[in-house]
């Protein structure tokens, strides 16, 4: 297929060479647009490289981890800056914002996400971005919530490793943040499903929701919530999310490792 595309390009080029109207125009905007697209392509390649490195970094030294996080952070800054350049093509700018938000998420730079998301969403709504670049705009919408889950997960991880008893108020507050982000993510799924974004987008947003439910939220409730009526409510909320996600389209089955068996036991919680 790729070969075919290259061939097409070359055939097109050949045809063009024979047409006087196609001779080279000294148009600086062409060069600018090519440069911007090339920059976006490089930024996306860099993001992929860094993410691959992040996935293998569990056994790496703290220095190496820091190196990767710093690289994510500077990529986020560069891409956001590129996105703000109004001379660039609309879709290229959206691509830069998507790259900036993804990179900031991976850099765990919550502050940058807050800064970028407003401008990025505004740009999506400015010129029918959800139609012109559906994947990028839907990612721009859901990434802040996915990053929010990771931010809360850091607190869960800290609590799991801390010996001190967790009080109900703190656990409740944390669970509330999870609920906020989960609600936003689940609410976005029907919109993604109806859009012309690639099918894989909805599947993977949903996959993330499953992971949050069976990993982060379940750990919080099972390990850290003291026995209380609030805990029972949280257990029941997890059950409800499970049912809701399962009932949705978009590759509805939960992935391996995420079944009703691993969720907190609803029997004693008095769930409906």
């Amino acid at each position: 297929m790729r070969l075919l595309k290259t061939k097409n390009l070359l055939i097109l080029a050949f045809l063009c060479l024979n047409l006087t109207s196609c001779t080279f125009m000294n148009n600086s905007s062409i060069v600018k647009n090519i440069k911007a697209a090339h920059q976006l392509s490089s930024a996306d390649e860099q993001l992929t490289d860094l993410y691959e490195k992040k996935l293998t970094m569990q056994r790496k030294s703290a220095f190496e981890k820091l190196n990767i996080m710093t690289s994510f952070d500077s990529l986020a800054t560069d891409s956001a800056k590129a996105a703000e350049n109004k001379d660039r093509e609309y879709k290229t700018r959206l691509g830069f914002y998507r790259n900036a938000l993804t990179s900031a998420w991976q850099a765990k730079n919550w502050q940058s996400i807050n800064v970028f998301k407003g401008n990025a969403e505004k740009l999506c709504n400015e010129d029918a971005g959800f139609d012109k670049a559906p994947r990028d705009c839907w990612m721009i919408r859901v990434i802040p919530n996915l990053a929010g889950l990771d931010e809360e997960n850091e607190d869960v991880t800290k609590m799991v490793h801390a010996s001190a008893q967790v009080d109900i108020e703190e656990a409740n507050k944390l669970f509330g943040k999870f609920v906020f982000n989960m609600n936003a993510i689940i609410a976005s799924l029907p919109g993604i499903d109806k859009s012309s974004a690639n099918e894989a987008l909805g599947e993977h947003v949903k996959l993330n929701a499953w992971k949050a439910l069976c990993g982060q939220m379940t750990t919080l409730v099972s390990t850290l919530f003291p026995k209380s009526s609030e805990k029972n409510q949280a257990v029941c909320a997890i059950q409800d999310y499970y049912k809701e996600l399962k009932s949705m389209k978009l590759r509805s089955d939960p992935p391996i490792g995420c079944s009703t068996r691993v969720l907190p036991d609803p029997q004693n919680a008095g769930c409906n």
Partner: protein, 613 residues
């Protein structure tokens, strides 16, 4: 892929311009991009066990009366024996998997999901993006466009731009796979080729008269890029990142320097072999290795300094490729790395003012002078690249030491004069094989003697140009009479006759300058003329008269100083009849006798006139 096809593609892209840009932009905007997944909870063993037995499907295993009940606190619903229960978790999960082959509520994960790498395209339709090779072609077109904008003839038929694109296309075809399966190394290669192409266009643009051929350019690009790609670290994320960072900083300027060196030396590389290509490649590899040794180019001098050394080495390589790849030159990679690393290390440690650009320019002069005599090193057990580093160290240490001791010197010399001193000594001395191959290089001895004298000139009686003249004569005499004037005994560091003579003359001249201004009735006693060009001439004359017979000079050293004192006192007392010209004539007439052991005669007006007649 066929290079002609790639070349055609690049040209086509340039023609296509707008259509190409839109296609390219579209392909980039819609290309699959990474979609991360949220983090896992970093759990400990206690929470794994606790979560597992509180879960709906597994709480039954710790209910009262069951197999693991005794390890579970029924009242608080928490684990008692975490280790035993952890083993139980592993056992239950294993059994579960076997029972669960039908996948009750589960579906197998996609391969890419399991690996954590999820790519999402923009559109649900099957709009395929351009292949990577097409993207590289686009990038090349992008680079070419930049130059065509300002110089439309650059791609004229048979022009250098076309040859350059042809050379680029061949390398692209050799170095990148056709299947479009690009990993980090291929993306790195693509970037390097792009940077090289850009440097090439700049050189073509800046050197419109340059006559080259496609084959040479092809070999040059290959020689520059290939060794760097081959050295790409295959293991270790940090190593790869550091390597890329170094290459990104250095390869653009390095490729530019290599192309420019060729453009500036068109006659040096005609012929079929183009041996310079091998040396260029080895030097570029050596540049990266030297930079890596310098702890990642921490400051600007390191980068600029290394690139200047690299450019100087390229100059040697283009003019004398045989010193890199000729018989007896050894391994070209090791030689190139050692040359750059040695010189860079010595310069890094050099004293001011040689720790900056003056040092690197001096190093370039050293490389040229030593490499021109590299044939003298064959079979001596001494490597020219090592000697170059040693000589840089000696010159910068000795002259730098003089500046350290005599702080006023910096007002006397400008940077060019400093480099000239080193260059003059090197050029004149290094042509005498014994002088660069001895136990202590004569270059160092000459420079050391001059440096000692410079340090002694605390009253700044001589200018920078005067010192250059002295250096010329000293180097000439040293070359004509090796191991005589500057070191009577090579095992005794204290025996440096030339240095002692120069210091003695400077001291004598200084004494006259320190005399108080005479009161009015004694106005016949005038100021000394023993400074500047006269003093320089005295030093030069003494060096020339003593170089052939140092033992004689050593024995009569004091008499020479006394003669200087007498002549100067006489000229001072007779300012209306005798000036600096007469001073020098009288001194030259009497010097030979003094060196033969005669005492300086008492100078009277009639005696002086007799000597001048």
């Amino acid at each position: 892929m066929n290079p002609a096809l790639i070349l055609f593609g690049i040209k086509a892209v340039i023609r296509l311009a707008k259509a190409g840009q839109e296609a390219y932009s579209q392909s980039v905007q819609d290309a699959p991009i990474i979609f991360p997944t949220i983090d896992d909870v970093a759990t400990n063993r206690y929470s794994i066990v606790s979560n597992f037995f509180k879960a709906a499907g597994y709480s039954k295993y710790v209910k009262p009366g069951t197999e693991y009940a005794e390890y579970w606190d029924q009242t608080n619903n928490t684990p008692i024996d975490v280790d035993t229960l952890f083993i139980a978790v592993v056992k239950i999960q294993t059994e579960d998997k076997e029972d669960d082959q039908n996948g009750e509520e589960r579906i197998p994960e996609r391969k890419e999901t399991a690996a954590g790498l999820i790519f999402v395209k923009q559109w649900s339709s099957s709009t395929e993006p351009l292949s990577p090779i097409a993207k590289v072609i686009m990038t090349a077109g992008d680079i070419a466009l930049e130059y065509i904008g300002s110089n439309p003839s650059i791609l004229g038929v048979g022009g250098n731009g076309e040859k350059l694109l042809g050379a680029f296309a061949t390398n692209l075809s050799d170095l990148l796979p056709n299947n479009g399966n690009y990993g980090p190394q291929e993306r790195f290669t693509e970037r390097l080729l792009g940077v090289t192409l850009k440097a090439g266009f700049k050189t073509v643009n800046d050197n419109s008269e340059w006559v080259t051929n496609e084959e040479h350019l092809e070999k040059l690009i290959s020689a520059t890029v290939k060794p760097i790609v081959e050295n790409y670290p295959q293991t270790g994320i940090t190593e790869a990142m550091q390597y890329e960072k170094l290459a990104d900083v250095l390869i653009g300027p390095a490729a530019g320097a290599a192309m420019n060196t060729l453009a500036q030396n068109p006659d040096a590389y005609f012929g079929d072999k183009f041996e310079q290509g091998t040396a260029f490649g080895a030097l570029t590899k050596g540049l990266l290795e030297a930079a890596a040794k310098k702890d990642g180019l921490k400051d600007q001098f390191d980068k600029e300094g290394l690139l200047e050394l690299y450019t100087a080495a390229l100059d040697v390589a283009v003019k004398q490729p045989e010193v890199f790849i000729g018989h007896g030159a050894g391994n070209v990679d090791e030689l190139s790395r050692d040359l750059l690393t040695n010189c860079a290390t010595k310069l890094k440690a050099a004293k001011p003012p040689f720790n900056g650009r003056v040092g690197t320019q001096l190093a370039a002069a050293v490389m040229n002078a030593v490499s021109e005599n590299a044939h003298n090193f064959v079979g001596t057990g001494k490597q020219w690249e090592q000697t170059a580093g040693d000589i840089i160290e000696e010159i910068t240490r000795d002259l730098g030491g003089a500046f350290e001791q005599n702080k006023n010197l910096k007002t006397v010399f400008n940077n060019d004069q400093l480099i000239d001193i080193g260059r003059i000594v090197l050029t004149r001395v290094s042509s005498t094989p014994a002088m660069i191959l001895g136990p202590k290089e004569a270059v160092g001895e000459v420079v050391s003697a001059i440096a000692q004298a410079m340090a002694a000139d605390d009253k700044l009686l001589l200018s920078g140009n005067d010192w250059i003249e002295i250096a010329k004569v000293a180097a000439n005499e040293a070359a004509k009479n090796p191991a005589r004037l500057f070191k009577l005994d090579t095992t005794n560091n204290n025996q440096a006759l030339a240095a002692d003579l120069m210091k003695g003359i400077l001291n004598k001249a200084g004494e006259f300058l320190e005399q108080p201004v005479p009161p009015a009735p004694q106005r016949n006693l005038q100021y000394s003329v023993l400074f500047g060009s006269t003093l320089k001439e005295v030093i030069v004359t003494v060096i020339q008269h003593t170089s052939g017979n140092p033992q004689q000079a050593k024995g009569n050293q004091q008499k020479v100083f006394d003669l200087i004192g007498q002549v100067n006192t006489f000229v001072e007392k007779n300012p209306d009849k005798f000036g600096n010209k007469e001073w020098l004539k009288i001194f030259k007439k009497l010097l030979s006798g003094v060196l033969n052991g005669e005492n300086p005669p008492d100078l009277t007006e009639s005696k002086a006139l007799e000597l001048l007649s």
